[in-house]
């Protein structure tokens, strides 16, 4: 069945070979796996294949249609970029985890049924946690554990929902669903955790900044975008997603303004970007779905680029904290330039990637008459520019020079950032390359005078606000601090009150077990009376009685025989 082999298998084969290779052979392997995978993806497309009949259900391990093709393709491109970015790393664990994570994400978007999806869904979680643990610190171990528990929870909800759905409908095919039954709610919630819905979001900001330099880029590329794909496939047009997404675009930007760790700022920013996509999926019109998918593709590129540039800073200076950095444009001019391209792209400047995709989602919201959601998205757009477009490059590379002098990033990192930056500009200048891949025909025209002028007004007056706040000293300084978020509940409240919770639990448990003991004792008494040493069933009758009974039975049989 090699002719219908899922591209994911190529990644897993690559991961198996990786530990046996060193230096150049390994580097070539890491780079060539995504290339072969992408070639295989396009060679197979479109296809429904890899049927496995499992119990009563038909599993489709390979389904390539317009929606899965675009996600499959961008995942391959992302896999190539992160491979290039991590070529200098000498850590087999990270290379293997990277290939398995990418392969599992690709396998998941190509899965045609919920059981196959579940398997790959969990595999992305298990493989990617090693990218956090690979930092090999106590902090990263704990953060990885929290990440793993929450991700596994998401997978279990998906499995539970899939089983319930199979009982209801007799099919495990992964297709459009309606919220209503427990099954679909469980699946929705499972997707929502991985997509970092509000209140379910905090694993993202907790874990991503604790991963290795290259690990964060891998995590940021695959996991959440897989969830976006799953929502687009399963819940397109679900109107509940509109307020959820709007909330997601808005609340993380407040955290992004006050957060000091620049990789955590980017994690909050990623959460905000996912919100735009979730709104698009919730709107459900052809333009909105196109916008959500296009923004997911662009986000993998420009968010990856920003994570890569700050990762390079972390590698060279040993920190990614705004309070410690500044003036790095002198030492790392190329990284600075690439970071600025990423910043311009995520801020949706004309001629950069974000402009041609985010505009689609806003236009779709306006078309549907959602004026309030539209205003929230516009506020979030200004906010994105503020924290990702200005804050990230400003505090890392400009602000005031802290006298850090380091080397420029390694050549392979620069190459990875350069390719990504080129793609961001290519898509911005020539959006047809992206629009041609989208699930529906594109009627949206990004470059109108209105759109360009209004966007430039929004952005430049936001920049004006930043400048005035900065010059007047109102802007909050970068401070070494931790900011409380929803993770406080499971990192502080529950552990702190664990003693009290333990006592209450102990008391309740004692009550229950006392009551239970009493009941059991009664049952045992009855059993004892019957089976005990003096019980009816425990007596050993003399042999004579047995003989008497045999005689009686014999007599009865004879009697019956003659009758």
């Amino acid at each position: 069945m090699i002719d219908a082999m899922t591209p994911a298998a190529i990644f897993f084969l690559g991961a198996l070979l990786t530990p046996f290779l060193r230096t150049w052979p390994r580097r070539i392997l890491l780079l060539i796996v995504p290339v072969i995978g992408l070639w295989q993806l396009f060679a197979l497309s479109p296809v429904n294949a890899g049927y496995i009949d499992f119990l009563d259900y038909r599993l489709i391990t390979l389904r390539i249609d317009t929606l899965s093709l675009v996600f499959g393709a961008i995942f391959h491109i992302a896999a190539f970029i992160v491979a290039l970015y991590s070529l200098h790393v000498r850590d087999t664990m990270q290379h293997v985890a990277m290939l398995v994570t990418a392969g599992a994400a690709i396998g998941a978007v190509l899965a045609g049924d919920l059981i196959t999806l579940f398997v790959f869904w969990e595999l992305t979680a298990i493989a990617s946690v090693f990218l956090i643990w690979a930092r090999r610190t106590g902090r990263s171990y704990a953060a990885g554990m929290r990440y793993l528990l929450i991700q596994m929870g998401s997978g279990l909800l998906l499995l539970f929902g899939a089983i319930m759905l199979a009982r209801e409908t007799g099919s495990v095919e992964f297709r459009q669903m309606q919220l209503g039954s427990i099954a679909t709610w469980a699946i929705f919630l499972g997707f929502g955790i991985k997509c970092a819905f509000p209140l379910l979001h905090n694993w993202l900001q907790d874990a991503y900044p604790e991963a290795t330099v290259t690990g964060t880029v891998v995590l940021g590329s695959f996991t959440t975008k897989l969830a976006i794909y799953a929502l687009a496939r399963g819940f397109a047009g679900e109107s509940l997603l509109i307020p959820i997404g709007a909330l997601m675009t808005a609340f993380p930007i407040f955290y992004a303004v006050i957060e000091n760790d620049l990789r955590r700022v980017l994690a909050y920013s990623l959460n905000n970007q996912l919100g735009f996509m979730v709104v698009g999926i919730g709107l459900g019109t052809e333009m909105a779905i196109n916008g959500a998918v296009a923004h997911a593709v662009n986000n993998i590129l420009f968010k990856g680029l920003l994570f890569m540039s700050i990762g390079a800073v972390l590698l060279r200076t040993g920190t990614a904290k705004g309070s410690e950095l500044g003036g790095l444009y002198k030492s790392m001019p190329w990284t600075t330039a690439f970071c600025l391209v990423g910043a311009a792209s995520i801020s949706a400047f004309p001629l950069f990637a974000g402009f041609v995709s985010k505009g689609m989602i806003l236009a779709a919201a306006a078309d549907e008459g959602h004026w309030f959601v539209w205003l929230v998205l516009l506020f979030a757009s200004a906010g994105v520019f503020h924290h990702s477009g200005i804050k990230i490059p400003y505090f890392a590379f400009f602000a005031h020079d802290r006298g850090i002098r380091c080397r420029e990033a390694p050549l392979n990192m620069l190459a990875a950032m350069g390719i990504t930056a080129a793609l961001c500009i290519l898509i911005g200048v020539y959006p047809a390359v992206l629009y041609g891949m989208l699930p529906y025909a594109v009627t949206y025209v990004p470059y109108t005078v209105d759109h360009v002028v209004s966007q430039m007004q929004l952005l430049l007056f936001s920049a004006l606000a930043f400048t005035l706040l900065m010059r007047s000293g109102i802007y909050p300084p970068e401070l070494r601090a931790a900011n409380l978020d929803i993770d406080w509940i499971y990192r502080r409240m529950v552990p702190r009150y664990a003693v009290i919770i333990g006592r209450v639990y102990g008391a309740v448990a004692a009550l229950i077990s006392n009551a239970g003991n009493a009941m059991i004792r009664q049952v045992l008494n009855v059993v004892y009376q019957v089976h005990g040493p003096q019980g009816v069933l425990a007596r050993t009758p003399p042999i004579g009685i047995a003989l008497l009974w045999v005689a009686v039975l014999l007599a009865a049989t004879l009697l019956l025989y003659y009758l």
Binding site: F254, V257, F461, I474, A482
Partner: protein, 86 residues
Amino acid sequence: MPDTGDREKQTYWLDRPANVKRIIHVLFLLCAGLAALDLMLPRHSVFFFEAWPGFYAWFGFAACVGLVLAAKLIRRLLMRPEDYYD
């Protein structure tokens, strides 16, 4: 590529406050230009408020100022020492 020793002594264009001022002046000019453009161009708006003069400019400015001021308040509530969870 000069090594780091050379860079230490090198002064950069941005090191001079006059040049930073120049960038800020360019930003002011661009903003003024965009505001003027807003009055000249006929706009095709979906929502009525989009047609208000300089809507996007005001919105962008107010959003950012509001965001930063709100974030400063939130910081008072949520900020903890860096080793809070350790």
